[in-house]
């Protein structure tokens, strides 16, 4: 195995001797690249945002902004990183830096390098297209997209305490297209960094990243207590906030067998190590319920790292994919050296952060059966619209034929020790006409599902109340006007 290497701002270097618990942020800062900052150490503020070269959709490379505070430096082995220092200098500002500087996009400046990296990644997004002038009216209605096609959600994982955001938005919306000789745009045309296997040892433990599923399963069988690390958006928090250290960690983020997405006739199979951003892009609205979920799932920075397998692997009761996937009746494919088995998601969770997953088993893929239900919605109750954790999350998938609910699947998060199906509510709906009266009656059932708790996010009473209104809201939004009045 070769010594771990990394390219930072165009210069090759080595990661030799870096402990597996050392984050990319701490490593960069220890090298004197102090532009990226630690603001929260849990992927909430984005002050640590950097750009990494990731595979694009067409064989090329895509600059992708991630939270450097969450990922182990070792996981960047073989990769290419660009920080705010690498984009430009005070004497020669990058276009993103120029717009931010002249428009008052920085005040204290502490969050600014992170904003620069998130904004630059969106600047280089290949499908960012200026909005045609004919669509100007629509544009007015959608203040979250600029006339230059800039998606404001790309900055949803960056917090600024000084500006109130308006000048940052204006800087983002003023950006043009990269010049023909822009080196970062040019890099996107070439292949992404090659897949390399990594082994990094340090005082706190070992990090190993194999290049095939078979190798990963063998390792996991030999080290069943190992921590599996993909996007590290959950594990990074454990390391930074709770002081967790992994004697043995297996990096599974680049296993080719976990990074496929196949749309078949009966099923869509989603590789567990695909990031939520990649799934969002590759499904491109094919699963409307997931399309509604993605923009509400954490932030773009997190979605660029977090994998769908990771969101299920943690077994958290407040993960945002389970309520949607429960409503879709998704099946989890678990793999081990003994082979594979399929587990319906409804049977997967066994208790608070506990699942049926056995030692040595990892999630290879998630299957979504087809056809999809026609009426779907994802309701997330939280304090903040961008980048917050659910107090309550509800995934709906209803089939309504000739005004009758022929099938209802409802997944709930945040109201019990595990994500659950709202089975009683489903039963109250199925076979009934999709009317306001039925919705009201079923809503009363939904109110009683789960066992919500009081905590700092919300009171149990509010959780119960919003469970009750979720179905009414769905009905109000999906029923035809006559039915609303009914």
């Amino acid at each position: 195995m070769l010594a771990p290497t990394i390219t930072v701002n165009g210069s090759a270097g080595t990661l030799s001797g870096v402990d597996p618990s050392t984050t990319a942020l701490d490593w960069l800062r220890s090298r004197g690249l102090t532009g990226a900052k630690e603001g929260c150490a849990e992927g909430e503020c984005g002050a640590c945002s950097i750009m990494v070269a990731r595979p694009g959709d067409d064989g090329g490379t895509r600059w992708t902004a991630i939270n450097a505070c969450l990922v182990p430096a070792a996981s960047l082995d073989g990769g290419e990183v660009v920080t705010a220092e690498g984009l430009g200098s005070p004497q020669s500002l990058h276009p993103v830096q120029h717009e931010m500087a002249v428009r008052g996009g920085s005040q204290c400046g502490y969050c600014t390098p992170g904003f620069i990296c998130s904004m630059a990644a969106e600047y280089y997004r290949p499908d960012r297209m200026p909005v045609a002038s004919a669509d100007e009216h629509d544009h007015e209605l959608d203040h979250e997209h600029g006339p230059n096609g800039f998606d404001l959600h790309s900055l949803s994982g960056n917090l600024c305490r000084c500006t109130g955001y308006r000048p940052i938005r204006d800087a983002a919306y003023a950006l043009g297209e990269p010049d023909a000789d822009d080196p970062f745009a040019g890099r996107c045309l070439a292949a992404p960094p090659a897949l390399t296997s990594t082994r990094q040892e340090g005082p706190t433990g070992v990090y190993v990243r194999p290049t095939s599923l078979a190798a990963a399963l063998d390792l996991y069988a030999a080290h069943p207590q190992a921590v599996l690390v993909a996007g590290s958006t959950d594990w990074g928090v454990e390391v930074n906030i709770r002081g967790a250290r992994a004697p043995f960690a297996i990096g599974i983020d680049r296993l080719p067998e976990l990074r496929t997405l196949d749309v078949g006739e009966d099923v869509i199979e989603i590789g567990a190590a695909l990031t939520l951003s990649e799934i969002e892009r590759r499904l491109d609205g094919r699963v409307p319920l997931l399309a509604k979920l993605f923009p509400q799932f954490a932030s773009r920075l997190i979605r660029n790292g977090a994998t769908i397998g990771g969101n299920l692997g943690t077994g958290s009761p407040i993960g945002d994919t389970p309520p949607a996937l429960l409503a879709l009746e998704a099946v989890i494919v678990l793999a081990s050296t003994d082979g594979e088995r399929d587990v319906p998601l409804a049977d997967y969770f066994t208790g608070y952060r506990q699942t049926v997953k056995q030692p040595g088993e990892l999630i290879r893929a998630i299957r979504v059966p087809l056809p999809l239900s026609g009426t779907t919605a994802f309701h997330k109750i939280a304090k903040r619209r961008f980048d917050d954790i659910s107090s309550v999350a509800v995934g709906f998938a209803l089939d309504v034929a000739d005004g009758i609910v022929s099938r209802a699947r409802i997944g709930l998060g945040g109201v019990a020790a595990t994500p659950i199906r709202a089975l009683a509510t489903e039963a109250a709906l199925e076979g009934q006409p999709w009317t306001a009266d039925v919705a009201r009656a079923a809503a009363a059932v939904l109110r009683q599902e789960g066992t919500p708790m009081d905590d700092h996010r919300a009171s149990a009473a509010y959780r119960t109340a919003t469970l009750g209104t979720a179905l009414l809201k769905l009905h109000a939004e999906t029923a035809t006007p006559q039915e609303v009045g009914a």
Partner: protein
């Protein structure tokens, strides 16, 4: 016009320029205190040992196990304090406590070769505690009568006669939350000692002189042996006015004992659990209106949740009392204040410094009472504005009171308020599940430190032989653009291009005895001092130029890097004149000084004219509330704000916008929760991370955000006619809260009064909507005589100390 406020022709002040460090910010080159760590050799890292009790006595501490951890160099305890074991200015904040006063209180600090070693060392320190009963909210402290510090009372007129004559008397209570500063850069200090043992601390501090004072008094050495420097801060907002001192002192002790640089940087959890926040308050109030809705009498008792120690709670409370009137004339007033002592972090300065809390009480009263008076809230507010010639309850004439009306009318016009209110009515009539509302609120905010002594500043201006200029002043840069404004002031005063002037970081060995960069006063005070220093130099150069130009010295003009006579003719380049002056042995540097004139304040009776002037502003906010969930969107905000003649418009608009969104965060989103259960975790901050304490993000930015600076707003007696801007716009966010209240009320029958919790989270708005829908009763406002009667203090009133007092200056401050 006074010389201070006069602008010359072609001034550099008033130009729209970016922040002086913008190019460094956007390229990651700007250095903050912790960025120096990797650039400093042999640094040790400090990590706290935090107590897991809200209140407890320490019965045993064993640091030996920590020393056994590889990489641990030393454990700092009380025994290591060479001077006074006190981190505050009220002598009630032991740096190393015997008695744990809040959950997370640091009882010892571990120094390690790496942060990881220090962290593991801290885990190894053994501490035994004897838990004691803990009070963890203001109501518990009121019930237990546990108060600290002064109990000020502000009175005017005849309160009983005022109520007797009132057509309507209402009363109620209101408790509202504080706010975490959440500067993106957490507290950080880096201390080192030189060959003679002098201490150099680089600190993220808004108050380098006080950091210096505290380090000196903890170390037991004179102030001249301590130098404090602040390159810049990654945000301050008041949270680094008083709180950095103890951390700097820990680093200084460590550096002195080990001879190595010591870095103390709090991670976010430590910062949230250890450093003070905006005070939450509890208010009891009675208010009287006449038949036409004019305020006649206000009787209120404000109780600030001070946390475990006094810190700045007394001056915060004084400012709250001085701002309860906000923009409104109330002839008969009695307001009592007191500070609860609770087992929580020691609450401290936060943008507005008590002003927002006082004003929130009044705006809440008006928002709740307007429907009961049968008046539109907008009309009720406008009707009660101060008029020219009226005075505040503490006796200060309200100068330029008409500007409030000017701002109001301009917002009404440019914000198309009438047209939009009609649109909102149409929308609400046709949308069964959501409601919109638009509210307007005014701000009047007093500018100056309440304690007169703090209204002074110094600056040092060097002109080098080549004509280049270096300035230093006593203010610190935390993003507000103070350094940019000071560069503009210097360039204007010297008559040189901006590029001729550079600014060196704030250091106590350059400018001594500075006041905190706080109270929005940074540009007023330091600008006066920089201008004074520049004018001393210009006056000397004037003599040199007059002999060259053959004109009277007063006819010499300095502008844009050239020196001419008033009538034109010969042009002397600035650099040439400076060089000639050097050879004539003319002093080319100067120390500048400024003191704000015309202030007086008697804290014992809460009376006087503590403020140089008032800042004004008006905001109109439109919201939409979802009736299913209480979730809302801020659709549009229009603001007109008075910054005098702006020194730097891009920066001033940035301050207005940023303060507004920060204020909206306090009032709607940011939700500090302490564990109030009886479990062992009682008193623990439950929201101690960015994942649980939510700041405004892009989704809270107003979708349409129009900010205008009031024109023709020249301020006599302030530097180049400008006004302070840092704090006042925060309170424009009351408009958002009142719009949410009105939108919630719109789910019920017309004219209903609705209570709204603060912060008005989606959950709080949901419950307000539910209250409106029930419509069986108004909110918890009582009409008539038997409602809430504000507590009156019975003990002898202790005078308020309107600002922190050092032991050394308490006697001279005369308070």
């Amino acid at each position: 016009m006074s010389a201070l406020s006069d602008r010359p022709a072609n001034p550099v002040v008033g130009q729209t320029i970016p922040h002086e460090s913008a190019g460094l910010h956007v390229t990651g080159q700007a250095l903050y205190t912790d960025d120096l760590t990797v650039r400093t050799h042999g640094v040790l890292h400090a990590h706290p040992v935090q107590a897991p009790h809200a209140h407890a006595r320490i019965t045993r501490m064993d640091t030996e196990p920590a020393l056994a951890v590889e990489g641990v160099v030393r454990v700092l305890t009380k025994a290591d304090v060479p001077g006074v074991n006190d981190a505050g200015v009220k002598h009630d904040e032991p740096l190393f406590p015997d008695e744990v006063m809040f959950y997370g209180h640091a009882v010892a600090w571990v120094l390690g070769e790496t942060l990881e070693a220090a962290r593991l060392g801290a885990l190894a320190v053994e501490v035994d505690y004897d838990p004691l009963p803990a009070l963890v909210n203001v109501k518990e402290a009121i019930a237990a009568e546990r108060f600290q510090g002064a109990t000020p009372r502000m009175e005017r007129g005849d309160i009983d006669a005022g109520f007797a004559a009132a057509a309507h008397v209402f009363s109620g209570e209101f408790e509202f939350a504080g706010q975490e500063h959440f500067y993106l850069e957490t507290h950080c200090s880096l201390a080192m000692v030189d060959e003679s043992g002098q201490i150099f601390v680089q600190s993220s501090t808004q108050h380098p002189s006080e950091t210096q004072d505290i380090v000196a008094h903890v170390m037991g050495i004179p102030s001249h042996e301590v130098t404090v420097q602040c390159l810049r801060m990654g945000g301050g907002f008041g949270g680094k006015e008083m709180q950095p001192h103890g951390f700097a002192a820990i680093a200084a002790i460590g550096a002195t004992l080990t001879g190595r640089p010591v870095r103390l940087r709090l991670n976010r959890t430590q910062d949230l659990t250890m450093s003070g926040k905006r005070h939450g308050f509890h208010a009891q109030w009675r208010v009287g209106f006449n038949a036409s809705g004019r305020l006649q009498a206000l009787d209120a008792t404000l109780t600030a949740d001070g946390g475990w120690s006094l810190d700045l709670s007394e001056p915060v409370l004084a400012r709250a009392l001085c701002h309860i009137d906000n923009a409104y004339w109330v002839p008969n007033v009695r307001v009592n204040g007191r500070i609860a002592q609770t087992n929580k972090t020691s609450q401290t300065a936060f943008r507005g410094f008590g002003g927002p809390q006082g004003m929130l009480v009044m705006e809440d009263i008006l928002g709740r009472c307007a429907p009961l008076l049968g008046l539109d809230a907008m009309e009720l507010r406008r009707r009660n504005f101060y008029r020219e010639g009226q005075s505040t309850p503490y006796g200060q004439p309200v100068k330029d009171a008409d500007r409030m009306g000017t701002c109001w009318d301009q917002v009404t016009k440019t914000g198309e308020v009438e047209r939009r209110r009609n649109q909102i009515a149409t929308f609400n009539a046709s949308h069964p599940t959501s409601r919109r509302a638009l509210a307007m609120t005014p701000v009047k905010f007093g500018i100056s430190f309440n304690l007169t002594a703090f209204n002074q500043a110094g600056a040092l201006v060097h002109v080098y032989k080549d004509g280049s200029v270096l300035i230093t002043h006593g203010g610190t840069e935390m993003g507000q653009g103070l350094h940019t404004k000071m560069l503009q002031v210097a360039a204007t005063a010297l008559g040189v291009p901006l590029s001729t002037v550079r600014l060196a970081p704030t250091r106590t060995d350059k400018v001594p005895n500075t006041s905190a960069t706080a109270a929005s006063s940074g540009a007023d005070l330091n600008g006066g001092a920089v201008k004074n220093a520049c004018e001393q130099i210009v006056d000397r150069l004037r003599g040199v130029a007059s002999s060259i130009l053959g004109v009277h010295p007063s006819d010499v003009r300095f502008s844009d890097g050239t020196v001419t006579s008033v009538g034109g003719g010969q042009v002397i380049p600035w650099g040439d004149l400076v060089n000639k002056a050097y050879f004539q042995r003319i002093q080319l540097w100067a120390a500048g000084f400024y003191r704000t004139e015309g202030l007086h304040w008697d804290s014992s009776v809460m009376h006087g004219s503590p403020f140089k002037y008032f800042s004004y502003g008006v905001a109109a906010a439109e919201v939409e509330v979802d009736g299913f969930t209480g979730a809302y969107r801020l659709r549009r905000v229009d603001i007109v704000h008075d910054v005098g003649d702006s020194l730097s418009p891009l920066l001033d608009i940035g301050q207005v916008e940023g303060a507004f969104v920060q204020g909206a965060g306090w009032l709607t989103l940011e939700d500090l929760r302490w564990d109030e259960s009886d479990r062992p975790s009682r008193g623990r901050l439950a929201t101690q991370a960015a994942s649980t304490y939510k700041l405004p993000s892009f989704s809270e930015m107003p979708e349409v955000f129009n900010v205008a600076l009031l024109e023709r707003a020249h301020e006599e007696g302030a530097v180049y006619g400008s006004k302070a801007v840092g704090e006042p716009p925060l309170m424009l966010a009351f408009s958002v809260r009142e719009a949410l209240r009105q939108a919630a009320a719109a789910f019920g029958p017309a004219g209903i009064s609705v209570d709204l919790a603060s912060p008005a989270t989606p959950e709080a708005v949901y419950w307000a909507v539910a209250e409106a829908r029930r419509a069986s009763e108004h909110g918890h406002v009582t009409e008539g005589g038997t409602g809430v009667v504000p507590d009156q203090s019975t003990a002898d009133l202790r005078p308020a100390h309107p600002r922190s007092e050092q032991a050394t200056n308490a006697a001279t401050a005369g308070v």
